[in-house]
């Protein structure tokens, strides 16, 4: 739930990058942090294990300017992707306004994507949120691995597995090199802001 501060004319919006482990959620935020460094006033916060895996979350706040006189502060979070950390994923989802699902397009991770999406559905239910109603963008990451002869699922299969019922906007991406990272971000911000405006009217 976005927080609107009438006194400071400020809206705080929470967007969570969700998906299976090693899918590229943190890479998305790292790319955004590098690319838009001049617009981000503070450092990205990462709570990692010694093995460089996300332990709790990554956090990246930035301003996108004003909408109707209100300063909009976007707060990007990732969840830990490893299966054992579901309790933590649930905590991070509290108060979420928009979700990017970062699917791993490599063939061997097909089942993990489906499991992660199903778990997201369940986790949202615990906050009385509906995956079919919340602003949502699908990102098929690691598409660049095709060039390295690593088996990658065709988009049609990914769409069928993950997005046939949701019908959310979907993007092929390469988080490490930044391919479609900004496009994904722009779309989720647009969807989330529209949804918040609708709620307010």
């Amino acid at each position: 739930m976005a927080f609107i501060n009438i006194r400071n004319k400020e809206v705080q919006v929470k967007i969570v990058y969700y998906g299976p482990g090693r899918g590229g959620k943190t890479s998305n935020l790292e790319y955004i942090n590098d690319k838009y460094r001049q617009r981000i006033k503070t450092e990205m916060v990462s709570l990692k294990t010694h093995g460089d895996r996300t332990l709790f979350f990554d956090f990246l706040p930035f301003d996108i300017g004003q909408i109707k006189g209100y300063e909009v502060k976007i707060q990007l979070y990732t969840v830990p992707g490893q299966v054992k950390y579901n309790a933590t994923r649930k905590l991070v989802l509290k108060g979420v306004d928009g979700i990017v699902f970062v699917a791993d397009a490599t063939k061997e991770r097909r089942e993990s994507n489906i499991q992660s999406l199903n778990q997201l559905h369940e986790n949202l239910k615990s906050y009385n949120l509906d995956l079919f109603k919340i602003p949502f963008v699908m990102q098929y990451n690691k598409m660049d691995l095709k060039k390295s002869d690593i088996p990658v699922l065709p988009v049609e299969i990914l769409q069928k597995d993950l997005n046939s019922r949701l019908r959310a906007p979907a993007f092929e991406a390469s988080a490490l090199s930044g391919g479609n990272v900004a496009v994904t971000l722009k779309r989720i911000i647009a969807l989330t802001m529209t949804s918040i405006q609708k709620e307010l009217l």
Binding site: M1, F3, I6
Partner: protein, 137 residues
């Protein structure tokens, strides 16, 4: 209480309370945040350089983690958290199901006195937030 949309008068009253009851007695920085990590109100002594947005996100995570641990050991909650440093200390206190009050203070302020003041402030915030019907986004 639904805090998602707090009106201007409520925010002003909360700010005044945070300043008069906490910052004026020597607290360096005080923040009212929600459990999702949003900053509802913030007041400091003008010398605080903490990145409050990151701090709020971490504080909400920290509190949620401790809350989960409380349930594992059979407690309903640990409603108070305190981290003591050499120079700076942080005190967390739950206002209600959705809000947390965080105070940062140095060793010149005694923890006992701070706790007494925090109890007063929490009561005032509950009253302020209960005054008006508010709607969420």
């Amino acid at each position: 209480m639904n805090y998602g949309f707090v009106n201007q008068d409520q925010l002003e009253d909360i700010d005044n309370t945070l300043k008069e009851d906490l910052v004026d007695i020597g607290v360096e920085c005080v923040m009212l945040i929600d459990m999702a990590g949003n900053t509802i109100a913030k007041c400091d002594n003008g010398k605080c350089t903490v990145d409050t947005y990151a701090f709020a996100a971490l504080a909400a995570g920290n509190y949620a983690t401790v809350d989960a641990m409380a349930k594992l050991v059979g407690e309903t909650e640990f409603s108070l958290l305190f981290h003591k440093g050499e120079k700076a200390s942080i005190h967390f206190s739950k206002v209600n199901e959705e809000l947390l009050l965080i105070t940062m203070f140095n060793k010149e302020l005694s923890l006992g006195f701070l706790r007494l003041k925090v109890v007063e402030v929490i009561e005032k915030i509950r009253n302020i937030c209960g005054q008006t019907k508010v709607s969420a986004t």
